[in-house]
Symmetry: C2
Subunit: 179 residues, 2 copies
């Protein structure tokens, strides 16, 4: 499976110039429910794309002591467009909690209850963050005319996290009744 780090970066830089740190923060915040990247992928990838001239340094006199912003080039935009039309590769999902539920005979019910509670809490928080982002998006200007796309992704996040919550609540209820 080819790494997609390059295209995540190019896609985000297509909106506005930003630093490696910015990229990481945005991926963690906005993409959290369907994507992740580590610094160990982002910074080396930036370096490679500078060499290949798919991005370039933004010369910002002010604030430049603090961070280096990068801008997408025409070549980078071409790479992005090319990838957009390439077939989507196999999706990756790994939920350890389901492994543990599957083998739950080897665990006591309190432990299982505890795991599900943590899972529910995490996805409740995730859902709140996504909804917050949705609200924010609806109240700010739309200069790149891409809000509908982002709202579509958010809609996906809300639906799946809601499904996670429904399942968790159902599980917790069953476990409560059982004892």
């Amino acid at each position: 499976m080819k790494s997609k780090t390059k295209y995540v970066i190019l896609g985000l830089l297509s909106e506005c110039p930003m630093s490696g740190y910015d990229l990481k923060r945005i991926i963690d915040m906005r993409f959290r429910f369907f994507w992740s990247e580590s610094y160990g992928q982002i910074y080396p990838q930036i370096k490679k794309m500078l060499e290949s001239k798919e991005i370039e340094k933004e010369s910002t006199p002010k604030d430049s002591r603090r961070k280096q912003l990068y801008r997408i080039t025409d070549k980078g935009l071409k790479s992005l467009l090319l990838w957009m039309d390439m077939p989507i590769e196999k999706e990756t999902v790994r939920l350890e909690i389901l492994l543990k539920v599957y083998f739950a005979n080897f665990m006591d019910d309190n432990m299982l209850f505890n795991y599900i509670q943590i899972f529910r809490k995490q996805h409740k928080e995730e859902l709140d963050i996504i909804k917050g982002f949705q609200k924010e998006l609806q109240s700010i200007p739309n200069p790149h005319n891409n809000h509908q796309n982002i709202l579509n992704v958010i809609d996906f996040g809300i639906r799946t996290n809601q499904a996670y919550l429904d399942w968790s609540n159902n599980m917790l209820h069953k476990l409560e009744v059982k004892q």
Copy 2:
């Protein structure tokens, strides 16, 4: 993130002895919506666990020409139990389709429509497989008394895949109206 391959294998072998090939097949069929393993992980892991005596070869005179079955040992069971009580690590989800929806301004609507259609088809099939498995499970004996656990995992698969389908249908509808 520590590899969980070991525990997937131990968990499955706790049900009944099987071969590396069997393990792969079962993971691909039953775990498909929340886990995956490749031969490149399974066979070397089997080798390691034979050395550490967490599993052992099952001596099956008949059929033994064809495949080697492995059985979990007491030591292996202990490893499994230990892992069951260890905190769950960060979950991994990577959905390239959402990346492409997010950056859909760089793609024409027909291409997007096509991607969503493929996504819908894949998850319709997945949902059908999961439901088939659910039906099968309800009609066969339950010797390990673990059917409820498996049904809980299946319930998760049905809910999330249904959420995927609802989102896909909504997306396709919006794209149809648009043009």
